[in-house]
């Protein structure tokens, strides 16, 4: 039998936490980002706290009006010749994609970065259906070639050094073993340019869905999403239903907000706004434009207070970077599409199969995630709520209820607390027997006297 997800998490976490090379790479990557982001928050925003509060309020408005805004979005897209398709889950979304491919005799796909498509395992599915699929974002291409999943929602290959990537490209693409970052980027450019000009279908994600105009907004830096919506005959944009913003003008705040928190840029290089397929009188553009709106557990989360707040998330990755647990155990350990604090908040609800209740415990509840979130999600409190949720479902066994009763009994009277303290000091030498070696924790020695004893001595000597 395969180990449970929880056992696997503990195993992987222990390995990664002890891997100092891994930690080095991650801390360097995050450190570079952190400095840029903090400087930019200060120089760009009059009041960063006010800006993120406003962003949270706009997202709350979008949530309060979500069904109506989705209908408005759909009307807008359909009015310009696009088509909106709805998907209950990953299977239905995959089915839509394949149907579209068959309808238009498509054989080849070029994809730009999209975490939503990661929920679908779209690449594996399309390849299984005999299609050719290329990831075109450099980081995504790297993990695709390595046969891995993205390590981080914004920086998929954060865990690989230049040298790791040069070696990978050397093995898979026959490039020079010592290629530098510029050379590796140009290899990817040349390889994918051929695919861009010949692919039948371009697939992009959707960072925002604009309800009043009926538009899909895609942010990126490389130009690959732009190519994916410019060259192929068919463009499919896949977005979660929570990505809605009420008004086009909301982008004036959300574009800089997402870029600042995600990559430390004022705005990313390309922010595309798509209202439809090629319009009359335009030189080029796809003949067909589809938007797949994915639920996949989101409507369940939407109906659950207080967790629905997590649907504000704009997937900037700031909470991952800030999280001491993410930094120690790394992105792959989570085993989820969305890693770090936000992943640990939403995954147990989105998957809804009771197998992810260990995730909220992968947190020190320090609140760093909450303090960096650009849409003001109270992440660490939601993690705590998730723990409560998990405990209500968890089979506790005999030990814990008994232990808690004993604790309550001791704590009820002052002198019992004193006695318990004396007992603990007496038995201190025995603790290594109870702490498994693999945890490698150093347990600080107990003070020789309790606070109360110290206090009494102090009083006497005065």
């Amino acid at each position: 039998m395969a180990p449970s997800l929880e056992a696997q998490f503990h195993k992987d976490a222990a390995i990664k936490a002890g891997d100092l090379t891994h930690r080095d790479k991650i801390l360097r990557a995050i450190g570079v980002n952190d400095e840029k982001i903090e400087a930019l928050k200060a120089s760009q925003f009059r009041d960063w706290e006010a800006a993120r509060k406003l962003a949270g309020e706009i997202k709350d408005e979008a949530q309060a009006r979500l069904p109506e805004l989705l209908e408005s979005f759909e009307r807008g897209i359909n009015a310009r010749g696009g088509k909106v398709l709805w998907a209950e889950d990953a299977a239905e979304a995959r089915h839509h994609v394949l149907e579209i491919a068959r309808r238009h005799n498509a054989r080849s796909f070029i994809k730009s970065k999209s975490m939503t498509t990661e929920e679908l395992d779209l690449n594996e599915f399309l390849e299984g259906a005999g299609m050719k699929v290329f990831e075109s974002d450099l980081g995504e291409l790297i993990v695709q070639l390595a046969g891995q999943k993205p390590y981080h929602i914004i920086t998929p290959a954060m865990h690989m050094s230049k040298d790791d990537i040069a070696k990978l490209f050397h093995e898979k693409l026959g490039s020079d073993r010592d290629a530098g970052a510029a050379e590796l980027t140009m290899i990817a450019r040349r390889l994918l340019r051929k695919e861009f000009v010949s692919a039948d279908v371009g697939v992009t994600g959707a960072n925002f869905l604009i309800a009043d105009e009926g538009a899909v907004v895609v942010l990126e830096n490389e130009g690959n999403a732009r190519l994916a919506m410019a060259c192929p005959r068919v463009h499919i944009a896949i977005g979660g239903i929570e990505k809605v913003l009420p008004r086009m003008s909301d982008l004036a705040l959300f574009l800089p907000l997402l870029s600042t928190s995600g990559t430390g840029q004022q705005v990313t290089c390309y922010n595309s706004i798509v209202r439809g397929p090629r319009a009359e009188g335009e030189a080029d553009g796809p003949e067909h434009f589809y938007v797949i709106l994915l639920d996949n557990g989101r409507s369940r989360l939407y109906g659950r207070e207080p967790f629905r707040q997590a649907l504000r998330c704009i997937r900037c990755g700031a909470c991952l970077n800030a999280c001491p647990v993410f930094r120690a155990v790394g992105g792959h350990t989570y085993g989820t599409t969305y890693q770090g604090p936000i992943g640990s908040v939403i995954t147990p609800h989105l998957r809804g199969n009771g197998q992810w209740h260990h995730l909220p415990y992968a947190s020190s509840l320090c609140g760093s995630c909450t303090s960096v979130c650009p849409v003001n999600i109270d992440l660490h409190h939601l993690l705590l709520e998730n723990r409560r949720d998990a405990d209500e479902r968890r089979e506790l066994g005999r030990f814990w209820p008994l232990a808690m009763k004993a604790w309550a009994w001791v704590m009820a009277r002052r002198e019992r607390v004193e006695w318990a303290g004396r007992l603990a000091r007496w038995g201190e030498g025995l603790t290594p027997l109870f702490v498994p070696r693999r945890k490698r924790k150093r347990i600080p020695p107990l003070a020789r006297r309790s606070f109360a004893e110290e206090w009494r001595r102090h009083e006497h000597s005065r």
Partner: protein
Amino acid sequence: MSTRDNILRRLRRGRDGWRSRGPSAVDERRPDAEVFADYPQGSEKAVEQFETKLAALNGRFYRAADLGEAARTLEDILAPLGGERFIAHEGSLIREVLAHLPELAWRIDGEEMLAATSDAFSAYAAGISEATALVARTGSVALNSRDAGGRRLTVLPPIHIVLARRTDLLPSIDAALERLGGDDLWSNAVLITGPSRTADIEKILILGAHGPKELHVILVG
């Protein structure tokens, strides 16, 4: 019942169970000038800020007093490209500028090639398009697929040259969005902020990932 109806019904039912719905609309948006500390003040400051921001992003900015100077600037940008061919969208500003460059005109393809195959498109060394707006605060260029010659012109050629009039220079993204939103005809718009880039390998900045390696902006007037 369709998936669409199921999802919408589930959302409405979920919302009915909320403790409170909160405000139905955010109490009017705050103007950009109140949110952003680097909102440009005054029109000459705006030109300066656009130039500084674009330069910091490795883009190139040129200010031309008139059409003749814009033409000479364009000629200078294209000069190192020897025998290469270029593609342009013949918008009104570009037509006026190109009228000053009769000797270069034969190397610049126009409307009839904008719909060429992507393969043929890849042969062009530079694409020339017209901006809908320039954003001074961020150094961004706003383009729409109808007035800029389509979607590929902005991303396939390795060099992208954008022409803009003085009246196109706006202070903020908000103003650029308003101008874009006022036009009902385009299918695709983009805010371009510097040349294409990536930092996916050890956070090292590399220009020209999939899109243009060079972005030149000529402001006329």
